[in-house]
């Protein structure tokens, strides 16, 4: 019975986070893209880019609304569903939570101003300057929240005495060993996903309505951003794996199905396990795990058997990890391919298959983010605060969480569907070309950069 409540508590939280992280990622990633587009628009005096910023901002604000409300839900659920966790963690990790609210507040204020002041300033750079607090606020929100997650993985900044936290150092708790690699990975993946999302939309629009200058420019810009952050994200993943190898070896070992401690450990891709924990049907890359974990093909990697079996994370995380990493590499490969086609004149980078691939990469990128978070959270089991508090000690005892799971599920289905409908209605009735023509009629003195195939 009690185990049941714990399971439902995990499901409610997992559900909320899985839904929220989509909008949180958009919320962190897109402002940077808007800022870049508006800046280029002003710089090049190309209204296409200004229109990009406008249209992206218009869609963005709808996703922000869903992100805000689901963020409010998750922050309350921390106390409602995990009262013991919040009581304990509140003593040590309240500072970044508190600062996150400030960062978000800051962002929300400037987003409000940004949306309603497109035509209020004579100097266009003043309006562009408003994007800076939005980008910074969104980024800092992610940073602060990620430090809390870092603390749950690598609790530091306190001394445990008789079940109570003493000698608390909030700053050290915030800047724990896990923070850097996590923040790096979260930010790089959010910017990558943001760019891929917009590139995917541009590719999708060109598949449906043919190549237009507006979408061509949007795709090119976003693929460049995606390539940059895709490579940074790969680096961040590498930093994270090296962090795990050193500080949280059981999590890495579970992800890699690495049971025995050994030097020159193989990297195992996919496959499955039999009852004796023997790996079947997997692809072995000799000594690669040692290399990934420590940058040395002969380094010793700690295996799972060093840890008591009841503290093993579920071995399922292997798949989450492999798929996440696979998607990360695929996204870099797709953006590289795009630019290879572009440089290599004989090939058209806007061919149907390339566009299809890019459109497909959008859901892949979000899947990657989801898998990454599921790996981070499931891989920490059975702990909620690693080594300090187990999940079942933290959960509420009220069996009502089961009912709440279904209520929240219904809510997210409703919000998800509504969000898609509203976004579709917002843009389907108003394709970019039509909006551009209207703009040109109102501003007849402006010209679009020459040499574009069509408007």
């Amino acid at each position: 019975m009690e185990m049941d409540t714990v399971l439902w508590s995990r499901l409610v939280t997992g559900l909320t986070l899985a839904f929220h992280v989509i909008f949180a990622t958009i919320g962190v990633g897109i402002p940077l893209m808007i800022a870049i587009a508006e800046f280029i628009g002003i710089r090049k005096k190309d209204p296409h880019y200004t229109l990009m910023a406008k249209r992206w901002a218009r869609g963005f604000v709808i996703t922000v609304a869903v992100g805000v409300v689901t963020g409010t839900i998750i922050s309350l659920q921390l106390a409602l569903v995990w009262p013991n966790f919040m009581k304990m963690a509140g003593n040590v990790i309240a500072l970044p939570l508190f600062m996150e609210v400030f960062a978000f507040f800051f962002e929300a204020i400037f987003l409000g101003i940004y949306l309603y002041t497109w035509d209020r300033f004579k100097n266009p750079y003043i309006h562009w300057l408003l994007t800076i607090p939005i980008v910074v606020g969104a980024g800092m929100s992610a940073v602060f929240i990620t430090t809390v997650n870092g603390f749950m993985n690598q609790p530091e900044g306190f001394v445990m005495e008789a079940g109570q936290f003493t000698a608390v150092d909030p700053v050290q708790a915030m800047l724990n060993t896990a923070t850097f690699s996590k923040v790096f990975h979260v930010l790089s993946s959010a910017y990558l996903t943001g760019a891929i999302l917009l590139a995917g939309i541009a590719a999708f629009a060109m598949l449906r309505r043919g190549v237009k200058a507006y979408h061509k420019k949007a795709l090119n810009l976003m693929m460049a951003v995606a390539l940059l952050f895709g490579m940074l994200n790969t680096l961040a993943g590498d930093v994270s794996a090296k962090f795990l190898a050193e500080h949280q070896p059981e999590k890495l070992a579970a992800a890699e199905w690495h049971f025995e401690t050994e030097s020159g450990a193989d990297l195992i891709l996919m496959g499955w396990l039999n009852a004796e924990h023997e790996i079947l049907g997997a692809l072995h890359l000799p000594k690669f795990l040692s290399f990934l974990a420590f940058g040395d093909f002969n380094a010793e990697v700690t295996g799972l058997v060093e840890f008591p079996q009841e503290e093993w994370p579920p071995l399922l995380v292997h798949y989450l990890f492999d798929l996440m990493a696979g998607i990360g590499f695929a996204l870099v490969a797709i953006s590289l391919l795009y630019f290879l086609f572009k440089i290599w004149k004989k090939r058209n980078e806007l061919n149907k298959w390339m566009l299809r691939l890019i459109a497909l990469s959008t859901p892949l990128a979000f899947l990657g983010v989801e898998l990454g978070w599921f790996y981070a959270e499931v891989g920490r089991q059975p702990w909620i605060i690693r080594g300090v508090m187990r999940v079942e000690e933290a959960a509420t005892t009220s069996p009502t969480v089961r009912t709440l799971f279904f209520v929240f599920l219904l809510l997210y289905i409703l919000l998800g569907i509504m969000c898609v409908i509203v976004l579709r209605r917002l843009f389907n009735n108003k394709p970019a070309e039509v909006e551009m023509e209207k703009w040109l009629k109102e501003n007849p003195n402006q010209t679009i950069e020459k040499g574009d195939p069509a408007q």
Binding site: T70, K87, F105, L426
Partner: protein, 337 residues
């Protein structure tokens, strides 16, 4: 002043801030819906959406800010309130989610729909009702504690007149605060038709506000003698509150100085809210949590106060900018920008 006292004072101020701006927002939603039903929406809905559009997110942030602040300064509250309020707070947060997202869907999406507006109006009244459970619970006597398990006594909650009078007070206060603010906003926008309508709403909701405030106070006396006596000792604060209410009513009734009238309403609630809060001290949850017993470690308390001050340096200039651009920019209010 000790850091936990600074903490609770700042948090109480923030809760007061939330009370005012959320009331304006919640009430506006209801008025917008009601006006649509009675076919008067052409008079006020443009005014309402013009005010709400740039500020709705800010309202939500105030709420989260208070919540994170209280959990940070007084972590025990997370345990008690979190355990007991699982259901009512989940309902409140679901309503907040529906309200926030549907507002954005209607406002930034292109279609106007009566369903959206209904959800927006109805949630505006249900959210304060469900949030007010936290205030009722803090008076004590609504919690069952068995061993380590804390839960809410729903039978006691639903049969107690105190909880119902607090729910009623929450709803009518929302409408009254919102009505007086929108009266002021309409007068600033020089929108005479809207002004007339909003002034009527404000006048109408004043009487229930004062009656229900008195009722809740009497039931509080029956439920929590200590709190009641403490508030009686602060009779001058309560007296001030009534005085501000009368000034506000006089101004609105005579149709002058609506800005001052709204400030008086704010002061009316400020004095009453602080009389309530000071009377509640030292308990955060009677009899389990006091300000002193639940305070976090000094290091965390200090860090939070420092973060708070740093945050204010960032926020106050930004908020002034918003107010300058939207609330107090006469051209914007009038719809010329």
């Amino acid at each position: 002043m000790s850091y936990e006292l600074i903490g609770i004072t700042v948090l109480w101020l923030f809760l007061y801030g939330y009370l005012i701006i959320a009331s304006i927002d919640f009430g506006a939603g209801f008025f917008a819906f009601y006006a649509r039903l009675t076919k008067q929406d052409h008079l006020i809905n443009r005014l309402i959406s013009r005010y709400l559009s740039p500020v709705w997110e800010i309202t939500n942030v105030f709420f989260v800010f208070f919540y994170i602040g209280i959990v940070g300064f007084f972590p025990d509250t997370a345990y008690y309130y979190g355990s007991a309020l699982l259901v009512p707070a989940s309902i409140a947060v679901i309503l907040l989610a529906i309200r926030g997202s549907f507002y954005a869907f209607e406002n930034y999406g292109s279609k106007k729909s009566l369903v959206y507006l209904f959800l927006y109006g109805a949630t505006g009244l249900l959210i304060p009702a469900s949030l007010s459970v936290a205030l009722t619970m803090s008076e004590g006597g609504f919690i069952v504690k068995q061993g380590e398990t804390v839960s809410l006594d729903y039978w006691e909650l639903f049969t107690n007149p105190l909880s119902w009078s607090i729910v009623g007070l929450a709803i009518v206060s929302v409408l009254f605060i919102s009505g007086t603010f929108l009266t002021f906003y309409a007068s600033r926008a020089e929108d005479h038709a809207a002004l007339k309508l909003m002034r009527n709403y404000a006048l109408f909701w004043s009487t229930p506000t004062i009656i229900l405030a008195l009722t809740a106070f009497i039931y509080l006396g029956q439920h929590n003698e200590r709190h009641f006596q403490n508030m009686m000792d602060l009779w001058w604060l309560l007296g001030l509150s009534v005085a501000f209410f009368m000034i506000a009513m006089w101004l609105i009734y005579n149709g002058r100085r609506y800005g001052l009238a709204f400030i008086c309403v704010m002061l009316q609630f400020f004095t009453a809210f602080f009389a309530y809060g000071i009377g509640h001290y030292p308990y955060i949850l009677d009899p389990y949590i006091t300000v002193q017993s639940s305070a976090t470690t000094p290091a965390m308390g200090f860090a939070l106060v420092a973060a708070f001050i740093g945050g204010l340096f960032l926020l106050i200039p930004s908020l002034i900018l918003v107010f300058k651009l939207f609330l107090f920019d006469a051209d914007y209010v009038k719809g010329k920008k």
